[in-house]
Structure formats: structure tokens, C-alpha cells
């Protein structure tokens, strides 16, 4: 297994370098620059600004300088927010985004796997149809609809939860976590139902039942481990997706996370910030995929022998 991990890490390095280089040239190709504004910046001022940020050097020189700094872990200063480094901004937003993703994934796993397992065990009954219908709606309903809907009901109509914020008012983390987790809960419900159904039809489950084990023991001790494998392999990309895709929820609920920096950087042509966040997110995705692969290896003996 160690070999697999080392191999994967070694592949990751060139991947990140390619991502960094591609992003570097792609953002430069986009029309408009970081200092373009509604009120035109006089040419003299633009010249000064370009000089301050090394934008007057030839593109290849800028590329070389950037990559050399990157190898030393320096993402450079933000163009949009003078006085702030990209690293500082990433590490300001990251804990919040992580926390949000953590609560969301807890919501997703709790609701999703409970509903999925229940649906599989009570197959073709109301306990199967109702959660699965809700799951289908959950998958189809985008967060930008669910979020405001929850806010209107619980924040404005019943006035029981704050409509925005993160850690400022009591209970303000509940609605964003549910909103972000809901879609993933729905996926997890369907995946765990499918996984459980497959496992429940296996011979070793029949053997367990034949030996007279009570049904709950069959499910908890024998079926769950195999039935939840699809969920675990989904969790890696899901966590990466939660972190990278939290932008909409962060915007709806006014949460100071990394997703907002990422998207706003693209709109602002904040070159260093776009690069920094892209490289950071790519690394995260690679890391979480690796983690979930390792978890699957640990849970599934067959995959272990394939590896």
C-alpha cells in the first residue's frame, strides 16, 4: 500500500505544476487586467502599477519568477487587496470553508446513509419510496434555491434562525450546513441504498441469516461494511467538491470562506489570487482522492489484492 501512496504522490507533483502553468497563461489570455476600472486609470498610473507588480516584465520572465516563488511556497501579494498576501487570504478563508464542509458532510452522512440503509432494508415499502423521492428532489434542487428557501421559512417567517453570518449569532451555522449538505445527503442515500442492496443479496449474508443471527446484527455487523464502500469512495471527491463548491452557499449566507475569494478573484482578474487558489484547490482534490482510495483499500479486501 505504501508503494501505491508514493506512486500517487509522485504523479501529483507534475499534475500541480501543469495546473499552475496552464492557469498562469490562461488568466493572462483573458481580456481585461487587474487594474482596469470603470474610471479609467491614467496611463502614467497604470505604468506605475505594472512596475510595482512586475507586470511590465516579459511574460516568460514573469512566469519564471512566479514558478520560482511558488517552489518556495510563496504565492505572492494579492493585486486586489494591497497589503494582503495570497497565502494569508487562503489561510483566512480556509478554516471557515473546512468547518462548513465538515458540518455539511456530517449532515450528508447522517441523513444520507440512514435514509439509504433504511430504504434498502425496507425495500419496496413506504420507508423506501419516501426517502428516495426526497433524495431525488435533493439531488435536483440547486443550493441557490434551497438556501434562500430555508432562510425564508426559518429565518424570516418563523424567525428562529439567523439568515446569515458565521459564528456571529447563535445558530447561524445550521442553515448553511444543511443547505450545503443536502445535495450530498441525497447522493449518499442513493449510493448507500444501492450498495446495501447488493451486499444484502450476497451469499455470506444469507449464511449469517441461516445461522439465525437477528436481522439488526446481520446489517450492522456484516452488511454495513460492504454496503457503505460506494459511499466511502464517493466521500473523497465529495469533500473536495464541498470545499471547492461552497461558493454559492458562502455567498447566500455571507460566510467568509475561501470559495468567495476564489470566484471573486476570477472576476477581479486578481492574477496571483486566482493562481494561488487554483493550485491550492487542485492539491486538495488530489489529496482527498488519495485519502478516499486508501480508505477503500482498507475496507475492501478485493481492492487491496488488486492494488
Amino acid at each position: 500500500m505504501l508503494q501505491v501512496i508514493i506512486k500517487r504522490v509522485l504523479i501529483a507533483i507534475p499534475v500541480i505544476l501543469v495546473v499552475a502553468s496552464l492557469t498562469f497563461f490562461l488568466v493572462r489570455m483573458a481580456p481585461g487586467g487587474p487594474f482596469d476600472a470603470d474610471k479609467v486609470v491614467p496611463p502614467q498610473v497604470m505604468k506605475n502599477l505594472n512596475a510595482v507588480y512586475n507586470l511590465d516584465a516579459p511574460l516568460m520572465v514573469q512566469y519564471k519568477d512566479y514558478m520560482l516563488n511558488l517552489l518556495q511556497g510563496d504565492f505572492g501579494p494579492s493585486f486586489r487587496y494591497p497589503g494582503r498576501s495570497v497565502t494569508e487570504m487562503i489561510f483566512t478563508g480556509l478554516p471557515v470553508t473546512f468547518e462548513l464542509a465538515f458540518y455539511a458532510i456530517i449532515v450528508a452522512i447522517l441523513i444520507g446513509s440512514l435514509a439509504g440503509v433504511l430504504a434498502a432494508v425496507k425495500r419496496n415499502t413506504a420507508l423506501d419510496y419516501i426517502p428516495m423521492t426526497i433524495a431525488m428532489i435533493g439531488i435536483c434542487m440547486p443550493t441557490f434555491l434551497l438556501g434562500p428557501l430555508l432562510v425564508l421559512i426559518f429565518g424570516i417567517q418563523f424567525e428562529v434562525l439567523p439568515v446569515s453570518g458565521w459564528g456571529s449569532l447563535s445558530g447561524d451555522k445550521i442553515l448553511p450546513s444543511i443547505t450545503l449538505g443536502a445535495a450530498y445527503a441525497a447522493y449518499i442515500a442513493r449510493l448507500s441504498r444501492g450498495g446495501m442492496l447488493e451486499t444484502l443479496s450476497q451469499d455470506y449474508i444469507r449464511t449469517a441469516r441461516a445461522k439465525g443471527l437477528p436481522e439488526y446484527k446481520v446489517i450492522i455487523n456484516h452488511a454495513l461494511q460492504g454496503g457503505l464502500v460506494p459511499v466511502v469512495s464517493f466521500l473523497g471527491p465529495a469533500i473536495a467538491g464541498l470545499i471547492g463548491g461552497s461558493f454559492v452557499v458562502e455567498t447566500i449566507f455571507q460566510i467568509p470562506g475561501l470559495g468567495r475569494f476564489y470566484v471573486e478573484a476570477a472576476f477581479n482578474r486578481d492574477y496571483t489570487m486566482i493562481l494561488g487558489t487554483t493550485i491550492f484547490f487542485s492539491s486538495l482534490i488530489i489529496f482527498f482522492n488519495l485519502l478516499s482510495d486508501i480508505a477503500v483499500l482498507l475496507m475492501n479486501p478485493r481492492a487491496r489484492s488488486d492494488a
Binding site: 494591497p82 478563508g93 429565518g155 446569515s164 455571507q254 475569494f261
Partner: protein
């Protein structure tokens, strides 16, 4: 079922009993909860540009004058009084001897000299140095033609007397001095955290920040909130009744609207486009619609082979029914615009008109060689992606089709792409807006002079240029306005831009907020504001 149960459970955890909103609890503590648009770029008055930054900086720092909350002439700031020489070119400011920095140091005339030198230092890369170009020698220093700052017309006569010499009598100069680009910064603090031209200096961080406004910087959490609290060393601290202001960078209009409805904000930055007509119809008591010094217009590329013909431009302008646009499309109290400068700013009332006259428009386009629109190529209207702009462009497209028989295409682009296309002249007609920096028609009319970066139309008119220059060299307000009225007439007669409507400020304000008055520049100085129910 499970989902519902868990939501219910989470509710119980959240403490459903608390029904006191933040606005309720802020009342007694005199804390203003302020929706401030986007996250400010920073707090260095010589580097930042933008409205959210302006809101913060009028709390944290103070220039020689401050904007009058009720509009009109500026009020004393750090300068308690001033004298203007008879030719209008020499200003002497007498600084308030009680004016102090937030660390207790007295504010001296030298602080202003050093601060103005800083913003004019080319390597700082400030984007607003031209606010001081009216000062003698300032432009030369900024453009590197001289490195000797003593050639610039700002001098400290003594600790409390500042003398400023201008190139021309500039009647709006006092108004410029409440703009943050002219604010003083604390020299020792700036230099402690970097050099005079360091854009990335850390002096604006909480704990380091020293300035001279009615409020002090307390905390700053990126994309979450900035908290400022009363500065007891401020020279007019007795007048300041607010204890704190919390600025929330809420860039999403719908989120901001929901925050206001849930009692989490006293004042919003805007009202969502689709909500405005609804709130008007429901007589929402918190809705504020106030005159604003800005014009929404269509910019024409006069270098385009078809659009360089004045008759075509006039035809396009006369075929637009502005009344219908404000009543049926924008629907938020906007006023039809018949001049570039919004009427009423500093007593300026231009007499220009733009008729809605399809017959006249038809004959003008026929004179240009396109009778009934035949042979007229398909032009593009460029706009930045936003629903409001799209609706107006659709209406204009339809009016031109109906009234002139010509078709245009709508092209929407991301903000930066739109800016780049406008700047390089890669457009035919583009939607545009202009908001005044100070309350004077010059902030509008100056932009359309030749060689002004913000002109972007390619239009050059010698007579217009001379009239605006003449107005700026005149000390007498009535003859100055007379020149500007003439310039405005030339503009509307030539139509390099087609005015559509005059902006209004639309936002929501809690009834608890007192001492908040409408004014054209939408500047609400915190020292006049308080909370009372």
C-alpha cells in the same frame, strides 16, 4: 421524514426562544449595522478606490473639510476655517488646534504636506492622484517631470496654517478636500510599517492603524465584518453619538435584503432590482429612493464609420422613449435624463432637451442615407452582464426597430472584458454610467474633453474643450455656469453619448436611524448619525 426530524432537532438546539434581533439589541448600545457592498480593497486612503472604502474612510479619517450631510457647501474638518485670495488661486487653511491623531499626536500642516507628497509619489501607484492635479506643480511631480516637492504648491506656514496654491481658480476645490484621496495619513505609522511608496505596508491593520476620524478601527475580519468604535480623541467627539459601526461586506443583494428583513442590518447598500417595484407598490416604510449624482447613458463610438455621422447619433437618441424606460423597465424611481450632468447638482440646471420624436428621428436617419433603416448595418449594444442592463438594452433595441427600422444585437460581457473592449474602442454602442466624485458639473463635463481617459467615445470638439477650460479658469460662479451650459448644449447637439436616465440611490433604512439625510453624493458622515426609536 428523517430530514424533517433532524431539522427540528437542530432548531431546538439553536435556542428558539431568542427573538431579539441584532437591530433591537444595537439600539441601546448605539451600534450601527451597515450593509457595505463588497469587501473593501483596503483602508489606505491613498491607494484604495471605491464606494465601500469611502464609507469606511469617512468614519476613520478626516480631511480638511467634510461633506455636508444635507448637501451643499462642505463643513470644516481638520481645517476650522480658510481664506481664499481674490483671484481664487490661493487658499490658506487654519487647522483646528484640538485635532489629534488617534494615538494622541497633534495634527499639523506638515502632516498634510507629507500626505499629499505621498499620494503624488509615482511609485506608490495611487489611482486617484489627479484629485490633486489642481494644485500648482502637482501634476509635474506625479508625472516625474520634477522630483523636487518644494515646487508643488502646498506649504506648511506653521503647525496650524497650510497654504495651497492652485493652477486656476477652482470653485469646487473645497469640495474635493472631503474626498479620501486628500486625507492625511500619520507619517510615523506609515513609515514604521514600510516606505512612503509601499502599497503593501501593514499600517492599516487593526492595532497598527492610526488616523484622525470620528471612529477608530477595532477589528477587521476579511469578508465578514469590520468594526469601528468611537474615537474619544476626535476633536468633535462630543457630537459623536454612535459607539460602534459594524460594516458588513454583503455583495449579494438578495442576502442583504434578507438580512435587513431579519433585523440584522440598519441600512442596506442597495435594493434588489426585482424587489424595488414591489416595495414601491407595498409602500415599504423602509424603502429610500433619493436623487443621486449619476447618469445612465449609452456611449457611442464616434470613430465608427456609421456612427461618426451626427445625424445617425441624433436619430438614435430621438428614437428612445425615456419616460417609458423609467416607468416600465427600470421601475425604481429613476428620472429621465436630458443632459449629461444631472440637474440640480450645486445649483446647476442645464436647459438641454432630447425630444422623443420618431418622425424627426426617421428624417434624420434618412438624411444620413438610410431611409426607413434600409442599408443600415446591424450594430451591437455592448453591456456588462447584469439583468437590469439587459432589460434596458432590450427596450432600446425594440424602440430603434420600431421607430427607425434598424436592428441591433445585444452583446453582454463579463465586467473586465466589457471594460477592456470599451477602453480599446472595440465597440459600437455601449451602456455606461458615470457617478460624480464631487458636487460640481465639472466632474461630468471634464470627462468628455479630448485626451481624457474616460471619454472613450473618440469624440473631440474644440469649442466644447475651450468652454470647459474657460469655466475652470473663471472665478465667478454665474459666468462659469454659463460656459458649462454652453458646453452641455454642444454635447447634446453632437450626442457622442445618449443620456437615458438619472440614477437614484435605492436602499433600505431602519426607522431607528436618525441624523441621516438624503444628499446627491450619498455621503452620510457618522458624526451626525444616531439611533433612536
Amino acid at each position: 421524514m428523517k430530514t424533517f426530524n433532524i431539522i427540528l432537532f437542530l432548531f431546538i438546539l439553536s435556542g428558539c426562544g431568542e427573538n431579539i434581533s441584532p437591530v433591537d439589541s444595537a439600539l441601546e448600545k448605539q451600534i450601527l449595522l451597515f450593509g457595505n457592498g463588497s469587501e473593501p480593497q483596503g483602508l489606505d486612503p491613498h491607494i484604495v478606490t471605491g464606494v465601500p472604502e469611502h464609507h469606511l474612510l469617512i468614519s476613520l479619517c478626516e480631511g480638511l473639510t467634510i461633506a455636508n450631510p444635507k448637501g451643499g457647501d462642505n463643513l470644516p474638518g481638520v481645517a476650522e476655517s480658510w481664506e481664499i485670495s481674490p483671484d481664487g488661486k490661493k487658499y490658506t487653511f487654519y487647522l483646528n488646534k484640538n485635532a489629534r491623531w488617534s494615538n494622541g499626536d497633534p495634527i499639523t500642516a506638515n502632516d498634510f504636506v507629507w500626505s499629499w507628497m505621498r499620494i503624488l509619489t509615482p511609485s506608490l501607484g495611487s489611482q486617484y492622484p489627479d484629485m490633486l492635479y489642481y494644485v500648482k506643480g502637482a501634476s509635474d511631480f506625479h508625472q516625474g517631470l520634477t522630483e523636487d516637492f518644494s515646487m508643488v504648491g502646498v506649504k506648511a506656514v506653521n503647525d496650524h496654517e497650510l497654504s495651497v496654491e492652485l493652477n486656476n481658480p477652482t470653485p469646487f476645490f473645497i469640495k474635493l478636500l472631503s474626498h479620501y484621496s486628500t486625507y492625511p495619513v500619520h507619517k510615523d505609522t506609515v513609515l514604521k510599517h514600510g516606505s512612503i511608496d509601499d502599497r503593501n505596508g501593514q499600517w492599516t491593520r487593526p492595532g497598527n492603524f492610526v488616523c484622525n476620524g470620528p471612529m477608530n478601527l477595532k477589528t477587521w475580519e476579511l469578508n465578514k465584518e469590520i468594526v469601528v468604535e468611537k474615537n474619544h480623541l476626535y476633536w468633535d467627539a462630543d457630537k459623536v453619538r454612535l459607539n460602534q459601526i459594524i460594516y458588513y461586506p454583503v455583495s449579494n443583494e438578495s442576502t442583504e435584503d434578507r438580512m435587513f428583513r431579519a433585523g440584522q442590518l440598519h441600512v442596506t447598500n442597495v435594493v434588489p432590482l426585482e424587489k424595488c417595484p414591489v416595495y414601491i407598490e407595498n409602500n415599504n416604510p423602509n424603502l429610500r429612493i433619493e436623487p443621486y449624482m449619476g447618469t445612465y447613458f449609452y456611449r457611442i463610438n464616434t470613430l465608427h464609420p456609421i456612427l461618426k455621422d451626427k445625424n445617425v447619433r441624433l436619430a438614435l437618441a430621438y428614437a428612445i422613449n425615456r419616460k417609458q424606460i423609467v416607468e416600465n423597465v427600470s421601475k425604481c424611481g429613476q428620472k429621465e435624463a436630458y443632459s449629461f450632468t444631472p440637474p440640480g447638482s450645486a445649483g446647476y440646471e442645464p436647459d438641454t432637451t432630447i425630444p422623443f420624436d420618431p418622425e424627426l428621428a426617421k428624417s434624420l436617419i434618412a438624411d444620413a442615407g438610410y431611409a426607413n433603416g434600409e442599408g443600415f448595418p446591424v450594430l451591437e449594444i455592448l453591456f456588462n452582464t447584469q439583468e437590469g442592463h439587459r432589460k434596458i438594452a432590450l427596450a432600446v433595441q425594440q424602440m430603434w426597430q420600431e421607430n427607425l427600422g434598424i436592428s441591433v444585437q445585444l452583446v453582454n460581457q463579463d465586467w473586465k472584458v466589457y471594460l477592456a473592449r470599451e477602453m480599446t474602442g472595440d465597440f459600437q454602442i455601449s451602456r455606461a454610467g458615470w457617478i460624480g466624485d464631487y458636487e460640481d458639473p465639472n466632474t461630468f463635463l471634464d470627462t468628455l474633453r479630448p485626451n481624457r481617459g474616460n471619454n472613450k467615445t473618440g469624440w473631440e470638439n474644440k469649442e466644447y474643450d475651450e468652454l470647459v477650460a474657460l469655466a475652470n479658469a473663471t472665478n465667478d460662479q454665474s459666468s462659469r455656469y454659463e460656459y458649462l451650459y454652453q458646453a452641455e448644449r454642444i454635447l447634446i447637439d453632437e450626442m457622442p453619448i445618449i443620456p437615458i436616465y438619472t440614477y437614484v440611490r435605492q436602499y433600505q433604512l431602519s426607522n431607528d436611524v436618525k441624523g441621516w439625510y438624503p444628499n446627491l453624493l450619498d455621503t452620510h458622515h457618522p458624526k451626525f448619525i444616531y439611533l433612536e426609536r
